[in-house]
């Protein structure tokens, strides 16, 4: 038996024994994921049990090094673990910005002490992180941020305001872009610091969205304290890390646009009926649906192609520059079509008959996809200038 087969056998056995039955049911939505933290939101006690057991083996973040709390698994082993978890429909034990955003940045830009201090608690689900990027007067123009960090010897004092900080009201620590220097161009003088949210100088107020949920906050800093040992990278060089994370985030958001499992056109035909040739009765909607599905197919093919090109050692091609833009626009189209296909229940907001407005709320939420993480307009600017080489105005 190969090592990998043996690993599979052991993994299967361990999962069978350790994954609680309640954690073998798929999550219903974002709110159902376990995010950890000092005061975790726990819908079911098994969530913590499951997270702790996985964390003990480093399997909450199986591809990170063991020394930082990860599982130290190689690509093939990670794949086996995912497959075996999928086999029993095991939930992901832990979902957090620490894993998806800060961790990769620290592994790339952090010093040894920072990795040692911050990564293990992320793996164990002990500390929940949020991201302090956008500001009220710096939306797409992120680099014009004004939140100030004043040098006080071994620490900074932070003053200013962030907005669109995801779950800042529930996070323990923040990774935050601050201005340590005003003298150069706007991209210079930005620093990337980490600090604890549990201090008197920090206040987070949730923002209610048009979809009715409040995943984001306005966050205010009034002499909030950040230790200098928690400055990541050099002072004034934080923009490099910010760009790295923005790209990372865009790739995550673009995933929204993947082709759905069930064809929307078939759902439409089920709901609205077919003509004698088996075609959706309404030919107008049929055109929009066919064009949407065609584009979703071609977009999925493009994501595969770029993946295959990377695997073949050809590097990340120019096609990847369109992912964020196209994926989010596609997702918005999909959501508009949902309203047209599902009709009256899709414009319902509350109540069981409308499944608490899931379709409408998803539709409204999708409008943010082409704004957050760099608007579609900014994406198109980037393609025009960096890929096509068109000049500045």
């Amino acid at each position: 038996m190969s090592d990998l087969d043996q690993f599979r056998q052991e993994t299967r056995a361990w999962l069978e024994e350790n994954c609680p039955e309640t954690m073998r049911v798929p999550v219903k939505g974002f709110d159902d994921l376990y995010n950890g933290g000092r005061n975790p939101e726990i819908d079911h006690p098994d969530q913590k049990v499951w997270c702790d057991r996985m964390a003990e083996r480093g399997w909450t973040v199986p591809h990170w090094p063991r020394e930082y709390g990860g599982g130290g698994l190689d690509k093939d082993e990670v794949k086996v673990l995912r497959e075996e978890m999928a086999r029993i429909s095991a939930r992901s034990p832990l979902d957090s910005f620490g894993i998806s955003m800060l961790g990769p940045a620290l592994l790339q830009f952090g010093n040894e002490e920072q990795k040692k201090e911050h990564l293990p608690p992320i793996c164990r689900g002990e500390i929940r992180w949020c991201q302090g990027y956008s500001e009220p007067n710096a939306g797409s123009d992120l680099a014009s941020l004004q939140t100030r960090a004043d040098d006080h010897g071994d620490h900074y004092l932070i003053n200013g305001q962030k907005v669109w900080t995801s779950y800042a009201d529930k996070a323990d620590w923040i990774f935050c872009l601050v201005r340590t220097d005003n003298s150069g161009t706007k991209h210079e003088g930005i620093s990337f610091v980490l600090f604890d949210m549990a201090q008197s100088g920090v206040e987070a107020r949730p923002i209610k969205l048009i979809s009715g949920s409040s995943p984001f906050c306005e966050t205010f800093f009034d002499d909030a304290r950040a230790e200098k040992r928690n400055l990541v990278g050099e002072e004034g060089k934080g923009w490099t890390i910010a760009k790295y994370l923005l790209t990372h985030e865009r790739e995550m958001i673009s995933g929204f646009g993947a082709a759905p499992k069930k064809s929307l056109g078939e759902s439409a035909a089920d709901i609205m009926g077919r003509d004698s040739e088996g075609r959706l009765v309404n030919g107008i909607l049929r055109q929009s649906l066919a064009q949407y599905q065609l584009d979703a197919l071609a977009f999925a093919a493009t994501m595969s192609r770029v993946g295959d090109e990377v695997k073949a050692g050809q590097g990340l091609g120019a096609a990847s520059s369109i992912f964020k833009y196209y994926g989010t626009e596609l997702n918005k189209r999909r959501n508009e079509l949902n309203l047209q296909v599902y009709g009256e229940p899709a414009v319902g907001w509350d109540g069981e008959a409308y499944n608490n407005g899931t379709l409408a709320r998803d539709w409204l939420r999708s409008k943010g996809n082409s704004i957050e993480g760099g608007t579609s307009e900014v994406q198109l600017n980037i393609v025009a200038k960096r890929v096509l080489g068109l000049p500045d105005a």
């Binding site: 669109w164 107008i284 409008k367 704004i371 198109l380």
Partner: protein, 379 residues
């Protein structure tokens, strides 16, 4: 009829604009929503509207109305669209009164139209059964029972269902679902035995509900017009309803657009007013063109109603299809161009996108009406 407003109409439009911008604004709508108001519109404001004659604006003078025609009503609805004002203008003035006028007997008109015109009675149409507007697909059944009828039906998206005094219920008295003949209309009081209303919370926070008619016994004179013969009157009622909704969507889209253009003139990014970026300028200019086309087709459709044109069905579907398309574009651009702030509940632009989609869906969306338009045009 020239495609311009006459003096009387301009005055009406200005009066409506002034009144609604003060008494039934988006802020008022937000307050109604957040207080979970049980009426869902401001009864005092509605009383004032009725005092100004709006409840009978399109009702002939012989029945106590103003006789301004549907062009007049369209102008008021356009202003209601600009302010997202909730009121019985749609349920009762646009649809209910029209259904009574188109389908009712002389006695029913005598009894109801003056009461509607006085703002004393709310009448609404109970039609849709499935997820989509499909009037010929009506499957609800009314059966003969002695002199009268027994009706069984579940109707969705009934406007102002929770406060209506009377329902105009469309049910099948013969034929099979999918055919236009065999449909009849009945006048059913809200307090009749077997009628139950489930008020529904829609995305626009306006007022609609599901109404169940369980073995509701009706006297013979509840029948509106001919037995099995509701189609023609229903069709005309729906054409008019859709022209009215197109008027509302015109106001809504124009207001969303104008607010967005104003925002483009204020917001700075990358050291520039974002309204100076040509990418946004061209999109705004294209949308402006579409809104001008929208205004023309709505006005033409309103005139077709008042002139009793044989092109009404064609123009009604044209106007509704065009306004569904343009309202979708205007509200989507509105949110996108406002950026992050447009995604917040605190900002008002979100109210426009929400009301738009419900109005688009009501009595047939873009797909329904563009399909119907193509049929009317002959292909």
């Amino acid at each position: 009829m020239a495609l311009v407003l006459n003096e009387e109409q301009v005055m009406l439009k200005d009066a409506a604009a002034g009144f609604l911008a003060e008494r039934a604004t988006v802020a008022h709508q937000r307050a109604l929503r957040d207080s979970e108001d049980t009426t869902g519109f401001d009864a005092a404001v509605w009383k004032e509207m009725a005092e100004m004659g709006w409840a009978g604006i399109a009702i002939p003078e012989e029945f106590g109305g103003l006789g301004y025609g549907y062009t007049g009503l369209g102008l008021v609805l356009e202003q209601a669209g600009r302010n997202l004002s909730a009121s019985p203008l749609q349920s009762t003035v646009l649809v209910g009164a029209t259904a009574v006028a188109q389908l009712g007997t002389a006695a029913q008109k005598e009894a109801l139209l003056p009461a509607i015109a006085a703002g004393e009675t709310l009448v609404t149409l109970a039609l849709q059964e499935g997820a989509h507007h499909a009037p010929a697909a009506t499957a609800a059944v009314a059966t003969k029972s002695g002199e009268g009828f027994v009706i069984n039906a579940e109707k969705r998206l009934v406007l102002d269902a929770h406060v209506a005094d009377q329902f105009v219920v469309i049910a099948r008295t013969s034929g099979t679902p999918g055919t236009e003949s065999g449909l009849s209309a009945f006048l059913v009081p809200a307090n009749a035995e077997g009628v139950s209303v489930d008020r529904r919370s829609m995305v626009d926070s306006h007022n609609a509900g599901t109404v169940t008619f369980a073995e509701v016994s009706l006297p013979a004179d509840a029948l509106m017009g001919e037995l099995d013969g509701a189609w023609a009157g229903l069709s005309r009622t729906l054409d008019i309803a859709n022209v009215g909704l197109a008027s509302e969507l015109l106001g809504l889209s124009t207001e969303a657009f104008e607010r967005t253009v104003e925002y483009l003139k204020e917001r700075k990014q990358f050291g520039h007013i974002i309204g100076s970026f040509q990418g946004l300028q061209h999109r705004a200019a294209e949308l402006f063109a579409e809104l001008e086309l929208s205004r023309s087709i709505v006005l033409q459709a309103l005139h077709a109603v008042d002139a009793d044109s044989d092109k009404l069905s064609l123009l009604a579907s044209a106007a509704k299809a065009k306004l569904c398309e343009v309202a979708q574009r205007a509200t989507n651009e509105g949110v996108q161009m406002h950026g992050g702030i447009g995604m917040t509940d605190e900002h008002e632009i979100g109210f426009f996108i929400k009301r738009a989609r419900v109005a688009q869906h009501t009595f047939g969306d873009y797909n329904y009406h563009l399909d119907r338009y193509a049929e009317q045009v002959g292909f």
